[in-house]
C-alpha cells in the first residue's frame, strides 16, 4: 500500500513515523524488536540473579558424571556406572525404537482402515467408522494406560507357565505373553550369516533392476513381461539357497522358562508394547481419515477417463489413482509420523525409558539441572521435527503440480 500523493521531500516530521505508511512499518518493527529484547533481557537478568543466589551456573559437566540408575531396556551396553550422556543416548535410541515400530504399525492399520471405510460392505464401513471415531476422540494417554493395564494386570505371571497343568501356555510354542513383557524368538547371527544377508541385499537390487528392465521393454517394444512372481523369486530364492549352502548360519533363539522367568529370545517390556500399540492404533485412526480423504480427492472423471483408454482396473489404481492420491496422503502422513515421535514422550507415564524418561526424568531429578536437561530435550525433538519437515518440503516440491 503506497500513498498516491508524494509528500514533498525534506518535510519529515516525527508524527510521520506513526501516520505515514512508508515509515510506520519501521516503527512497528522497531517497537517489536525492543519489546522482545526487553522481555529476554528481563528473563536473562532474573536467571542470572537466581543462579547467583542459588550458587549455580549453567554447565553441561553433569553429562560426564556417572548416572547411578538402571534402565530397563538397553539397546547398547549400559550400566548404572555409565555417564548421564550415555543414559541420554540409550533414551534417544529407545525413543527411536518405539517411534519406528509405531509408525510402521500405524501406517498398516491406517491404510487398511481407510480403504475399508470406502468398501462397498456396509458392516465393514460402519465398524471402521466406529474405530476411527472411538480412537480419535479419546486422549492417547488413556489408551496408553489401558493397554499398559492389560499388559500388567491381565496377562499371567511367568510362573503360570510352569508345572504339569499350567494355567497359561505359550502361543505357537514361541511367544510368551506375561505380565513382565512379551517374550519372542530372536535370530542368532552365526558365522557366515553376513553372506546370507549380503545375498538378500543384492537380490533386492536385482529385483529393482529387473522391474526397471521390464518397464523399459514395455516402453520400447510394447511387450508386457510378467513382474509379480519373478520379483518374488529374485527376492527369496538366492537368499534361501545361500542359507542352506552356508549350513544354516542363522538360528532362532526361543524363549524358555528357566528359574523364575523366561530366558532367551527377546523380551519386549509391557511399557514398550503399551506405548507402541496405543500410539499405532490412535494415530492409525488419523491416518485412516487421511487415506480416505486422499482417495476421495481423486475425481471420478480420472478413473473413468483411464477406463475409457482401456486400462484394466488394477492398472487404473496403480497408474492413475494412487499417484494422485499419494500427493494428498503423504504430507499429513509424515506429520502424523512426527506426532508419533512427539507423543512417544508420553512414555514417562508408563515408565518406558525414552529420552524424556532418562534425560528429562531421572537425570533431571538427580542432578537438579532443570534448565540444561529441558534445553537438551527440546533440542533433540526440534532436530527431529525440523529434519522431517525438511524432507517433507523436498517431497512436496517434487510432487508439486507442474503447471504451465
Amino acid at each position: 500500500m503506497t500513498s498516491l500523493s508524494d509528500p514533498q521531500a525534506g518535510s519529515f516530521r516525527l508524527s510521520m513515523l506513526l501516520n505515514d505508511t512508508r515509515y510506520r512499518s519501521y516503527t512497528f518493527q522497531f517497537v517489536a524488536l525492543m519489546c522482545i529484547i526487553a522481555v529476554f533481557g528481563y528473563l536473562g537478568l532474573n536467571l542470572a540473579a537466581n543462579l547467583r543466589t542459588a550458587g549455580l551456573s549453567i554447565s553441561f559437566d553433569f553429562l560426564s558424571a556417572p548416572s547411578g540408575y538402571d534402565i530397563n531396556q538397553r539397546p547398547i551396553d549400559y550400566t548404572s556406572q555409565s555417564t548421564h550422556l550415555r543414559a541420554s543416548i540409550v533414551g534417544i535410541m529407545n525413543t527411536l525404537i518405539v517411534a519406528v515400530l509405531a509408525c510402521a504399525t500405524a501406517t498398516v492399520l491406517g491404510v487398511a482402515a481407510g480403504v475399508a471405510r470406502l468398501s462397498p460392505n456396509w458392516l465393514l464401513r460402519k465398524m471402521m467408522s466406529v474405530y476411527v471415531e472411538a480412537f480419535r476422540n479419546v486422549p492417547v494417554l488413556i489408551w496408553i494406560l489401558i493397554i499398559f493395564s492389560i499388559m500388567t494386570a491381565v496377562l499371567p505371571p511367568p510362573n503360570a507357565f510352569r508345572g504339569e497343568n499350567p494355567t497359561a501356555t505359550m502361543v505357537m510354542g514361541a511367544f510368551a505373553f506375561t505380565n513382565r513383557g512379551v517374550y519372542a524368538p530372536w535370530p542368532i547371527w552365526g558365522d557366515g550369516s553376513w553372506v546370507v544377508v549380503a545375498t538378500f541385499l543384492a537380490s533386492i537390487a536385482g529385483a529393482v533392476i529387473y522391474r526397471r528392465h521390464t518397464t523399459k521393454v514395455l516402453f520400447d517394444t510394447g511387450r508386457l513381461m510378467p513382474r509379480g512372481w519373478p520379483t518374488l523369486a529374485i527376492l527369496i530364492l538366492p537368499a534361501v539357497v545361500m542359507f542352506y549352502v552356508m549350513g544354516r548360519p542363522i538360528t532362532l533363539d526361543y524363549p524358555a522358562l528357566k528359574g523364575f522367568n523366561f530366558q532367551g529370545g527377546v523380551n519386549m517390556l509391557g511399557s514398550l508394547i503399551a506405548l507402541w500399540f496405543a500410539l499405532a492404533i490412535y494415530t492409525g485412526a488419523f491416518i485412516a481419515e487421511n487415506v480416505r480423504a486422499g482417495i476421495l480427492a481423486v475425481s471420478k472423471g480420472q478413473t473413468e477417463a483411464a477406463a475409457s483408454l482401456g486400462l484394466r482396473p488394477n492398472r487404473i489404481m496403480s497408474l492413475v489413482v494412487l499417484p494422485q492420491a499419494l500427493r494428498v496422503i503423504i504430507p499429513p502422513l509424515i506429520s502424523n509420523y512426527l506426532n508419533i515421535t512427539k507423543n512417544s514422550s508420553l512414555a514417562i507415564a508408563v515408565g518406558y525409558m525414552d529420552v524424556t524418561g532418562t534425560l528429562g526424568g531421572i537425570t533431571l531429578n538427580q542432578t537438579g539441572r532443570a534448565i540444561e536437561c529441558v534445553l537438551l530435550l527440546m533440542a533433540f525433538y526440534l532436530t527431529i521435527s525440523l529434519s522431517i519437515s525438511a524432507v517433507m518440503n523436498v517431497y512436496n516440491n517434487s510432487v508439486k503440480l507442474k503447471e504451465r
Binding site: 517489536a32 458392516l123 488413556i142 489401558i146 528429562g360 529441558v374 526440534l382 521435527s385
Partner: protein, 425 residues
C-alpha cells in the same frame, strides 16, 4: 377403417406389478450392501463374527455390573467369581473424578453452575442466529466463572472486568482522533481502574475461597481446555498475520516462535512450566501452577492454530486482497472486513481439530503431578486400598467423558461448515 369391434385394445392402464422380491426393501439392501460378491460375503461374516465376539466379551461385564458396594473386595464377593464390572467405584468416587479430591464437598454447586452457564455463554458464539445482544453474557462469563470456581470476593473479577470496560470505552471515545494515543489512553484507564480495585479491597458477596491445588478432576480438564482454546484463538490469528506480514523482523519472530513450539512435545513445555519457569522470574513472584500451565498450553495451541489460519489465508484467491486494496481499505479494515471472515471460514475444520486435540492433551498435566481426570484415576483412586485393582470401569468412564465432549465438538463443526457453505453445490 378396420373393424374395431374385433381388435383388442386396452382402454385402461395396467396396475404396476410389484418389483421382484429380490429387488425391494430389506432383501435388496442386504444383497447390495452385504452380500454383493463372494469377497464381500466373507468380509460380512468376519465382521459379524468380530462384533459378536466383542458383544460376548463386554455384555456380561456390563450386565453383571455391581453399583452399590464400597470396595473392590465387596464387589468380588457379590459377583462370586462371575465376570462383572465394579461400577461402585464410580458411585463412590464420582465427585472426586469430576471435581478433584480436595474441592470442598459443600461447594460442588459452584463448578456445576459454572458448567451449566458455560453452555449459556457459548450459545451466542456457537449459534450466530441468536440475537447479538446475548454476547454480553459471553463477555461476562469468564469473570463469573472465575468467581464461582475460585471463590473469594466478587469485587476481584468485577474490577478486572471494569478495567477492560474502561479501556474499551476510552479507546472508543478517542479512536476517531488518533489510534495510537487512544490505545495508550485505554491501557492507562485500565491500569487506573485495577489500581483502584487493588486499593479498595472490598469484601462483597464472598464465596469460600478455593486454592488452585484443590481443583482437579474433569473440572480441571474443562478449565484448561476452555481457557486455552479461547485465549489461543486471538493469539493464533495475530501469529498467522505476523507470519504473512511483509515486515521482516515481525515475520521472523513469528516464524521462529511457531516452528519452535510445533517442534517440541507438549510435555517438555509442561516441564518448563513446572521446573524451569521459576528460574526466569524474580524470587518474590510466585505463579500459580494452573496459571503457568495455562500460559504454556495456550502458547502451544496458538502456534498450531496460527498454522491452520495461515493455511486459510493462503487459500484465499489473491483477488480478494487486491479488491480490498482497491476499495481503499487500510490493512486493519481489509483484514477485519474482507480477508479474515473468509479465511476463518476455510479454517474452521482445522481449528476444531486443534481444539479437540488440545482438549485431549490437557490430560498430559497428570504427568507433572496435577490431579486432572487421568491424574485422579492413577493417583488417589487406584492408590486407595479399597479400589486397588480397578481399571476398566475408571478408564471406560474417563474415555466416555472425553468422547462425549470431543465427538460433540466435531459434530458441531460439521454442522457449522454446512451452515457457512455459501457456494452452490
Amino acid at each position: 377403417m378396420a373393424d374395431l369391434s374385433r381388435a383388442f385394445v386396452r382402454r385402461d392402464m395396467l396396475p404396476a406389478t410389484p418389483p421382484p422380491v429380490g429387488e425391494t426393501g430389506l432383501v435388496k439392501w442386504l444383497r447390495e450392501n452385504l452380500f454383493s460378491s463372494p469377497i464381500n460375503t466373507v468380509m460380512t461374516l468376519v465382521s459379524a463374527f468380530v462384533i459378536w465376539w466383542l458383544v460376548l466379551a463386554v455384555w456380561p461385564w456390563l450386565s453383571n455390573g455391581v453399583w452399590t458396594t464400597t470396595s473392590l473386595a465387596a464387589c468380588r464377593e457379590v459377583l462370586q467369581g462371575k465376570t462383572g464390572a465394579c461400577f461402585s467405584v464410580l458411585t463412590e468416587r464420582w465427585h472426586q473424578l469430576l471435581f478433584g479430591f480436595t474441592y470442598p464437598a459443600d461447594q460442588y454447586w459452584r463448578p456445576t453452575l459454572g458448567f451449566v452457564l458455560l453452555f449459556v455463554a457459548a450459545a451466542p458464539v456457537l449459534f450466530f442466529k441468536l440475537p447479538r445482544r446475548l454476547l454480553i453474557i459471553t463477555a461476562v462469563y469468564p469473570f463469573l466463572a472465575f468467581w464461582l470456581i475460585w471463590g473469594g470476593s466478587i469485587t476481584v473479577p468485577l474490577f478486572v472486568a471494569l478495567g477492560f470496560v474502561a479501556a474499551a470505552l476510552t479507546f472508543q471515545a478517542l479512536a476517531k482522533q488518533a489510534m495510537a494515543q487512544a490505545a495508550l489512553a485505554a491501557v492507562i484507564a485500565a491500569l487506573v481502574v485495577w489500581w483502584i480495585g487493588g486499593q479498595a479491597d472490598l469484601q462483597v458477596l464472598v464465596l469460600e475461597p478455593v486454592a488452585s491445588r484443590d481443583i482437579g478432576g474433569f473440572m480441571l480438564n474443562m478449565i484448561l481446555g476452555v481457557t486455552c482454546v479461547s485465549l489461543s484463538l486471538p493469539i493464533g490469528i495475530l501469529l498467522a498475520l505476523g507470519r504473512r506480514s511483509d515486515m521482516p523482523i515481525i515475520k521472523w519472530i513469528c516464524v521462529i516462535f511457531i516452528e519452535f513450539v510445533r517442534g517440541v512435545p507438549l510435555i517438555t513445555l509442561l516441564f518448563v512450566a513446572n521446573v524451569v519457569l521459576g528460574y526466569f522470574l524474580p524470587p518474590e513472584v510466585t505463579f500459580d501452577l494452573i496459571l503457568r500451565v495455562i500460559i504454556m498450553i495456550t502458547l502451544f495451541s496458538a502456534a498450531y492454530i496460527a498454522e491452520v489460519i495461515r493455511g486459510g489465508l493462503a487459500a484465499l484467491p489473491k483477488g480478494q486482497y487486491e479488491a480490498a486494496d482497491s476499495l481503499g481499505l487500510d490493512y486493519a479494515q481489509a483484514m477485519r472486513l474482507i480477508i479474515l471472515p473468509q479465511a476463518l471460514k476455510i479454517s474452521i475444520p482445522g481449528i476444531v481439530n486443534v481444539a479437540v486435540g488440545l482438549f485431549k492433551d490437557t490430560t498430559l498435566v497428570s504427568v507433572i503431578s496435577m490431579y486432572d481426570l487421568v491424574g485422579m484415576v492413577r493417583g488417589p483412586i487406584q492408590g486407595a486400598t479399597e479400589w486397588n485393582g480397578v481399571y476398566w470401569e475408571l478408564f471406560a468412564f474417563a474415555s466416555l467423558l472425553f468422547f462425549v465432549v470431543c465427538y460433540g465438538i466435531s459434530q458441531y463443526s460439521q454442522w457449522l461448515e454446512q451452515q457457512l457453505r455459501t457456494d452452490h453445490r
